[in-house]
């Protein structure tokens, strides 16, 4: 966990959008200076004028460009809030609270002797925080392996961006892209000696990855997506039972080492 910047409430403008049937990549800009943000952190987005979304919606930071005060969100349309968000017109104003949560633990800059092979496993929209994480790892000298899984080819997003920072491996359940099957079944996991796994995706998938990691005795962090009301530690709604008891996933998470979890 890194030292965390002050939390802010900021207005952003949507300046670019790429939309797919079930998801959208939304690029936001703010006129303010962005606080320092670490991979794995998230924002709480206010979805305006939607009677069904009283609370904010937590979304991982997909990418940032602090120099230009740009922040990307990758949004899967699963309900009223995300649908409404993904439907926003360019130039719409969106209010966010950020940066929230802890972050993925970054390794020391790469050395000959240390960690060699890092695998970032993302399932479905769980790939969202991995782009930013992959870029940070690349800056530390690593060549991350992105292992992306989905039900079918349409679920695999941002391929070009991922290729900028590392090697990409894909599984789809219907075999329409990459190897057919689940991420945990991908051949790469047998071919290389995995030193570190970062994982984000649906809970069953993360649990499968966690047990694989335990089996091969590999360091592994996962990012949880528990339901949140506030996102900054005030409501105690987002708890996960860990070896320290109930902890808030919005402040002590969303990133956890699998050893802390009771999975």
């Amino acid at each position: 966990m890194s030292s965390i910047a002050n939390k802010l409430v900021l207005d952003f403008i949507l300046y670019e959008k790429e939309e797919w049937p079930n998801s959208a990549l939304m690029k936001f800009k703010t006129t303010e200076i962005l606080p320092e943000i670490f991979p794995g952190q998230f924002v709480q987005v206010k979805v305006e004028d939607s009677p069904e979304t009283y609370l904010r919606r937590p979304l991982s930071v997909n990418f940032i460009d602090r120099g230009n005060s740009c922040l990307w969100l990758l949004v899967q349309k699963v309900g009223p809030g995300t649908r409404k968000l993904a439907a926003l017109a360019l130039d719409s104003k969106v209010n966010m609270i950020l940066p929230l949560g802890n972050s993925f633990s970054l390794p020391e800059p790469k050395k000959e002797s240390g960690i060699q092979n890092i695998v970032l496993i993302g399932g479905g929209i769980g790939t969202a925080p991995l782009l930013f994480l992959g870029k940070s790892l690349r800056e530390l000298g690593y060549l991350p392996n992105f292992l992306l899984g989905g039900r079918s080819a349409a679920d695999i997003l941002q391929l070009e961006e991922f290729r900028l920072y590392g090697k990409v491996f894909i599984t789809t359940q219907d075999g329409t892209l990459g190897e057919q099957g689940l991420v945990t079944e991908h051949s790469i996991l047998n071919e290389i000696q995995v030193d570190r796994i970062y994982c984000c995706g649906p809970k069953p998938m993360m649990q499968a990855v966690a047990s694989l990691a335990k089996k091969i005795n590999c360091w592994c962090e996962v990012s949880l997506e528990n339901l949140m009301a506030c996102g900054f530690g005030a409501c105690l709604c987002c708890v996960e039972k860990t070896n320290k008891g109930h902890v808030c996933t919005c402040t002590e998470g969303p990133v956890f080492n699998i050893n802390e979890l009771l999975w």
Partner: protein
């Protein structure tokens, strides 16, 4: 210049805006967003004599203009509060009240005695109305007899401001309000959450681990406002109103209905600065309406 201060008996608030227990942590969670000295007071998280793990996840469900929660009073117990939290928050330049819950009268009394020793805590809010905990809690809030006992015994040991938080899950809130007044409560705060439930139609399962939970947010405002009005007319001690307050107009409405001060709860989650915005809004409202002091709003509803 508008005088924004209000008195809850001997307790003076610099303005009528407080934050509601369970929605504001220990105040620290909001330090990045706002200056706590800008509001009249904060009520910290529900505290119990012994540590509580709280309920299982999931603990919340969104509803139309509101939310259900089933936190279940997760806290590390009053002694942990005294040792580890109080030192960090005792210098906040606002009134810090502790919200106290228990399963037995003895629990309440012991917690009150311990908190009484904390110099910078001018009062406690007795929570007899948490719908999320099996043992006690709400039982005290819905039975006049049980309420009578708990207020009487806490009052016997606790000499600072004793605010009693009423449950809305009752047939006649004035019966409980009067009971608390008779037993010496200094003020009444209301409402706590309404007992509600949410179901996932596709999964055919409850959305909360506890099946039912507490409803809060704008959806409960009409019920809260009615109960504040009824309570105001039934008792002489000050009433602190809450339930869905999200903006200045909401706060004014509660004061017109009889509240001497108000608490902001769930709205803090959506806009962490909203309590300050409301405090400023009240000043502006008083100016526009030619009021010299915010306390003139209390019960000023016009019925002619």
């Amino acid at each position: 210049m508008v005088d924004l201060s209000v008195q809850l008996k001997a307790l003076r608030l610099k303005n009528p805006v407080m934050t509601a227990s369970g929605t504001f942590g220990y105040g620290e969670e909001y330090l990045d967003f706002m200056d706590l000295s800008r509001i009249g007071g904060i009520i910290v998280k529900g505290t119990t004599i012994r540590p509580r793990e709280g309920n299982d996840y999931p603990r919340m469900a969104e509803t139309a203009s509101g939310m259900l929660n089933a936190v279940g009073l997760q806290n590390k117990g009053v002694n942990y509060f005294v040792k580890n939290i109080y030192p960090r928050i005792c210098d906040f330049d606002t009134n810090v009240l502790v919200n106290v819950s228990g399963s037995t009268v003895e629990d309440y009394v012991q917690a009150a005695e311990i908190i009484q020793e904390l110099d910078k805590i001018p009062g406690i809010e007795l929570n007899v109305s948490c719908p999320n905990v099996k043992e006690g809690g709400m039982a005290f809030g819905v039975s006049a007899k049980a309420l009578c006992q708990v207020v009487k015994e806490v009052r016997a040991v606790y000499r600072k401001h004793l605010m009693l938080k009423l449950s809305p899950n009752v047939t006649d809130i004035t019966v409980l309000a009067k009971t608390a007044e008779e037993q010496g409560a200094d003020s009444l705060s209301l409402i706590n959450t309404l007992l509600g439930m949410a179901i996932d139609a596709e999964k055919q399962r409850p959305k909360l681990s506890t099946i039912t939970g507490g409803l809060s947010g704008p959806c409960v405002k009409p019920v809260a406002l009615r109960m504040v009005w009824q309570t105001y007319k039934a008792v002489k001690i000050p009433v602190v109103g809450m339930g869905g307050i999200s903006n200045t107009a909401d706060a004014i409405e509660f004061m017109l209905a009889g509240a001497s001060a108000i608490q902001v709860g769930t709205a803090n989650f959506i806009d962490p600065v909203v309590s300050v915005t409301i405090a400023e809004g009240i000043e502006d409202y008083c100016q526009r309406h030619g009021l010299k002091s915010a306390s003139e709003l209390t019960g000023a509803l016009r019925l002619d």
